[in-house]
């Protein structure tokens, strides 16, 4: 694949793979990521940022950021990946290159707690209002336990109808 060879000449590529005819994957270092994105956008025609996602590699102690780019004229996708530290996750924002990145970064900030330096809106709530725990998409977050504690038991223990139980609960609460 010619684009991968070109990239290998210019940047420090840790990992590269041709997944399909229209999808390639490169992994690079934290430092080279932004120059690589700018190069792909300005010189190679990967004009669209499709999305940014994040993967939690808890065993390695790393977060992996994945930038998905799309070249409309060649109809080709490229995934650019990099790994950042999991303890104090911090990365440069790219919303100056693609304005739509702002919303994706905001979501990743909310779901994984990655701090994108320079993103003006990342601290605003997107989906989770009044969140009170560690970011929920991290793998050390126990959703079942959280759900049980916050939203109550799933089913009443005995087999009675829920509706009846509710009126019992009223009465109990009134007697208090």
């Amino acid at each position: 694949m010619e684009i991968l060879d070109k990239l290998k000449e210019k940047f420090e590529i840790l990992q590269s793979q041709e997944k399909r005819k229209d999808l390639a994957l490169v992994g690079t270092t934290e430092k080279d990521l932004i120059p690589l994105l700018v190069y792909l956008k300005e010189y190679e025609g990967y004009k669209t940022l499709v999305m940014i996602s994040c993967v939690d590699w808890i065993e390695e102690g790393k977060f992996e950021l994945v930038y998905n780019l799309w070249n409309p004229s060649k109809k080709h996708n490229i995934l650019v990946k990099t790994k950042i530290d999991r303890e104090a996750p911090k990365f440069q924002t790219i919303y100056k290159i693609w304005p739509q990145a702002e919303a994706y970064e905001r979501e990743i900030h909310e779901m994984f707690g990655v701090d994108f330096e320079g993103n003006p809106t990342q601290h605003e709530e997107l989906i989770l209002e009044d969140w009170d725990d560690i970011p929920p998409m991290r793998r050390d977050f126990d959703t079942l336990k959280y759900s049980m504690e916050k939203f109550g038991e799933r089913e009443p223990k005995s087999g009675i109808i829920i509706r009846k139980q509710i009126s019992e609960q009223y009465d109990e609460w009134r007697r208090k």
């Binding site: 989906i127 209002e129 009044d130 929920p136 959703t143 916050k150 109550g152 799933r154 829920i162 509710i166």
Partner: protein, 192 residues
């Protein structure tokens, strides 16, 4: 709020009495003219479109979609509720004028359904709002929804759909539950 203060009640709404001379006629009319607030949560609102349009035609039961909660009688909770949506649902429900009814569709509002372990979807709706009719399924088909509405009509006709009375009577209990999960209560105390 401040400036908007005039647009909400400042005190707890009083208990509504219900009855009077025309009670039978009222119930009869209420059952046959259910206006549904056009608001959908979760997966289920997709089933409401065929229910209300030509294929299944809920209008022959006298039902209609209206765009504002003030004019509506029925609130359909059509699927899982996240904490964020629950806030809006509470506001919508309280802005509706009594008598009002809640219909819950699907497994999710009953016991969490397939989202029972989700960090963001509530498990049991009736801790937060009084529900008159449950329709099970994941998602219930329009036929099931129509059957549910038939049942709601029956309940109203016989005066048994009294969730709205329970809500005002036990408002403190409901508020306690609601505030337990809505940590930052940024709406008026009484949205009526």
């Amino acid at each position: 709020m401040g400036k908007d203060k005039n647009y909400f009640l400042n005190e707890k709404p009083e208990k509504m009495t219900y009855g009077g001379v025309f009670r039978k006629i009222n119930d009869w009319a209420r059952a046959r003219s259910l206006w549904v607030v056009a608001y959908g949560t979760g997966c289920g609102s997709i089933e409401l479109r065929p229910t209300f349009t030509s294929r299944f035609d809920a209008e022959r039961l006298g039902m209609r979609m209206v765009g504002t909660p003030r004019q509506a009688d029925v609130l359909i909770i059509s699927g899982y509720l996240t904490v964020k949506t629950l806030k809006r649902v509470i506001r919508v429900y309280e802005q509706m004028q009594s008598p009002k009814y809640v219909v819950a569709l699907g497994a999710c509002p009953i016991n969490g359904g397939m989202y029972y372990d989700s960090y963001n979807a509530i498990n049991r709706l009736d801790l937060y709002l009084p529900v008159d009719v449950w329709i099970t399924g994941c998602m219930p088909r329009p036929e099931a929804i129509l059957a549910g509405f038939k049942r709601l009509q029956g309940l109203i006709d016989s005066g048994k759909a009294d969730g709205w009375k329970k809500y005002i009577e036990n408002l403190d209990w409901y508020r306690e539950n609601q505030r337990k999960i809505i940590k930052n209560w940024r709406m008026p105390n009484y949205n009526w």
